[in-house]
């Protein structure tokens, strides 16, 4: 049995608390959060407190707060020499306060408050200052997920950067597609099967081999037609830059 306390009440804290609560060999002892409104829902299934002074004794303390609050929250904890891990993709482990043993417990996924997630399929990236703590975090991860990877802070930075491309920038491409259609009163629903299939392809084959489209085949005529359609659009430069980059990449040497 691993005793866990979560500090934070946002999306990651919510999803972690729910899965910890459901998992037999994990004991979610407490959720700590200063915002009483967002803390409230947690009281339905575990002990909660809005005071750092009331924090209990546990095997792992997980700080699941926004990136810029990690430092301050880790300093406020009224515990010493305990295993304290944060859940961020972009904050280094060393940013945690020195008074406790540092660790990372980073679920590599995008969370929304009301969308259910299947933790089994979410990679958990863990890191710790010493082997013993690393094993604790690894064990904790393995109880909820089929993929637990030991990832250094350096590697995690790279992962987070890559995630910006495949998540944030991809979503922006969806948004641009949606906007282009909305302007002409065409339903975005028509593109949804294509969106699903494109994502599926990337997980089955290498994206390098899956690349298609006018820029890939240097189809200048189609590119020109598209740029003409985009002549007054804020997205014209993005189309140009991406097409040029694809074209250069697939026709180099």
């Amino acid at each position: 049995m691993i005793n866990v306390i979560i500090i934070g009440t946002g999306n990651v804290a919510t999803h972690l608390a729910q899965i910890f609560k459901k998992t037999n060999e994990i004991n979610l002892l407490q959720v700590i959060g200063r915002n009483k409104t967002t803390l409230k829902p947690f009281s339905n299934f575990t002990e909660t407190s809005s005071s750092f002074l009331e924090i209990k004794s546990a095997d792992v303390y997980i700080i699941a707060v926004s990136d810029d609050a990690i430092d301050a929250v880790s300093k406020k904890l009224t515990i010493n020499n305990q295993l304290v891990a944060h859940t961020s993709g972009s904050v280094a482990m060393k940013n945690l306060s020195n008074k406790n043993r540092k660790g990372i417990f980073y679920p590599l996924q995008t969370f929304s408050k009301n969308q259910k997630v299947d933790f089994k399929n979410i990679p958990i990236c863990v890191e710790a200052e010493n082997k013993k703590d690393e094993i604790v975090l690894q064990n904790l991860g393995e109880k909820i997920s089929e993929t637990v990877a030991i990832i250094t802070s350096e590697e995690r930075k790279t992962l987070h950067l890559a995630a910006v491309f495949v998540n944030n920038f991809v979503n922006y491409m969806y948004h641009i597609g949606n906007t282009i259609l909305e302007d002409k009163d065409i339903s975005f629903d028509l593109l949804k099967p294509l969106i699903s299939e494109t994502a599926k392809k990337a997980t089955n084959t290498s994206p390098k081999n899956a690349q298609t489209g006018p820029a890939k085949r240097k189809d200048i005529l189609t590119i020109k037609k598209h740029l003409h359609l985009l002549q007054n659009s804020p997205y014209k430069e993005i189309y140009e830059q991406l097409s040029q980059s694809i074209s250069e990449e697939y026709h180099k040497k």
Copy 2:
């Protein structure tokens, strides 16, 4: 019963021939293609010919060839005043030869030769010069798909442009993510659940509301860290441009 002949032997021709063959109320009469090697597999389940002179009489002739061959192939057909439709997203209906009645039968999906597709979920965009032919194409579409939309050549241009963003450019983002990880020997598999979830979100909620990330929240510090990681990368400018565009879009007014 609708009698159909397919002209072409590529990915779209292959998938259409397979689904037509399987569908009760559709009679796939013939597949015509000049390349005997790529035509061969079709002979396992229907009549084939590599000569345009042997083309039979049918209700609908579907030209499924590459965009730049549509014009020439439609001119070579030795039939007159028949309903001839092409399957391209980016070629106007008027590009078909005047000697036949023109139409469009555009399945909005990305096809690979060896990847199975479920036509039920693929939107079919149809267009014709007259109502009667439009109904024929609509009926044909409805026999294989749950979504058939009547889309003008103008609208189809816009759809195709939007599809470049959500398919070609999205795949390129996957490729960039993959490359960034490969350079540091980190497995791309770690990102696959994120890729699936991001696509799922876009089909459940509006991409505008789903947008997250450093550029969305104007997290200059993280953006700077990422640009530093990308300092010698060909993808630095793409990161910069997309971040700037997202940032402007979500912080305008």
